[in-house]
Amino acid sequence: MTSTLDKLHAILRRDLLTAIRHRSGFVVALVGVFTELAAFYFLSRAIGPGFRPGGVEYFPFLLVGTGIYTFFVMSAQSFLSAVQEAQQTGTLEVLMTTSTAPAELVILSSISAFAGNLVNLLVYLFAGVAVFRASIHANFFSCAAVLVLSLAIALALGIAAATLQVAFQKGSAVLWLLGSGLWFLSGTMFPIQSLPRPLELLARAVPLTYAVDGMRRALIEGQSMIAMTGTLAVLAGFGVVLLPLALAGLSLSLRRARQNGTLSFY
């Protein structure tokens, strides 16, 4: 346990130092957050107060939807980028020869990637509430439960992207799917009930739909965990199924890459 915490500390420190030494990165990210929020704020004003998807104001609806969506995609993206960068610099091969098991390394690295994106999400939501006056009635415990369960799913998606990157050097394909398909289907910008029936059914099979919906109910409406039992159970179910599958896939692809000598191919 001490050793695992020590490794996590080393990975967090590496990522933090790397992030702060990209001097302009923070400023650019912050400007990006405010620009995006401003765009959504004026979009909701242009549409007018009459449009209340699911009975809530449109700006908080967009704030939570896009915040969670970005958290998912950026988590998978940062995870994939870490693998791609490690392949390009040759660190992936070296990392695979350390005493740390590949699965442990992947999970610890993902915690670090998610920590950074979690901070971004909190800044995004905070700015939406504090600067753009989004109206929320947060239930802390429900928010935490949705976030933790969503993390497991985001982790699985990140690992899936990394797996495809190691196996076929095409992890970006997964992100393309995330970027366009999930954006359209997960109810980020509009309620999924607006979709034609077959697409609505498809949207209900997408884990991100439940993460977005759950966070809206917890953060905007302040619903309790008991009221959200169904959504939390679905999120947990997705996590229980997807996470072991993604880890098994990654383990298989790493083994195959070591067999074929393609670990550092990109």
Binding site: S3, D6, K7, H9, A10, I11, R13, R14, L17, T18, R21, H22, T89, G90, T91, E93, V94, L95, M96, T97, T98, S99, T100, A101, L105, R255, R258, Q259, N260, G261, L263, S264
Partner: protein, 261 residues
Amino acid sequence: MDRIVFESVLKIFRHRPALFNWLGRERGGETIALKDVSFSAARAEVLVFLGPNGSGKTTALKLISTMLLPDAGSVRVGGFDARRNAGEVRRQVGIAVAAERSFFPRLSARENLDFFAALDEVPRCERAQRINEVLQDTGLEEQADTLVMKFSSGMYQRLGIARALVKRPSVLLLDEPTRSLDAATTAHFWATIRALARQETTVLLATHNFAEAAAVADRLLLLHRGELLADRPVSGGESAEVLRSYYFRMTGEVDEAVLKR
């Protein structure tokens, strides 16, 4: 007991052309990197792989480090099979690969070493001291706190060696370790290799440098087109020139230096 046992190892790299390859000229096929190669290495022994490019030297080192898995035969380190007990093997092995820049560019040399030492489970209380030692051994004390993105090729190479040493492995694998080093650092490095062997470390080193082989080797393994042509001891008095003529005689390659005389 032998610390490394390589038994009838076969390693084949299969090449599949990319999708939509009709636009390019890439062809499928396979390369036999190692063919039925067997050897062993004892505690405190320094083995040097000599052989032309593509002879299988790096592949052999990568198989021992578990970066690669064999297609047939077995690789055992300290009694553990590299396929079935990869974790146990990795705990014993330190490797310095020839590829430069396998570091995190925005971390300093010390921070990189600290990161890899943590993943190699070097106890936290010992880490700073060990890092200082290997930085000194590789002549990087003055650059210890410089971001490695500012390093030269030679510094990267030294840092790679430092990374391999910091876990104090019982098996040290070195792929062309002095390729970019200056003469003084090279001489110091050869002395370090012999000192490690005296401390019971098994060292496997791949090189094209006959002087290096003569300076550090207890045994010479000559690889050619994936086959082990020779496995013989190197006596203390053998010079680089002797090893050079032996190499060209065994491989049948043309020594242009002799032709020019």
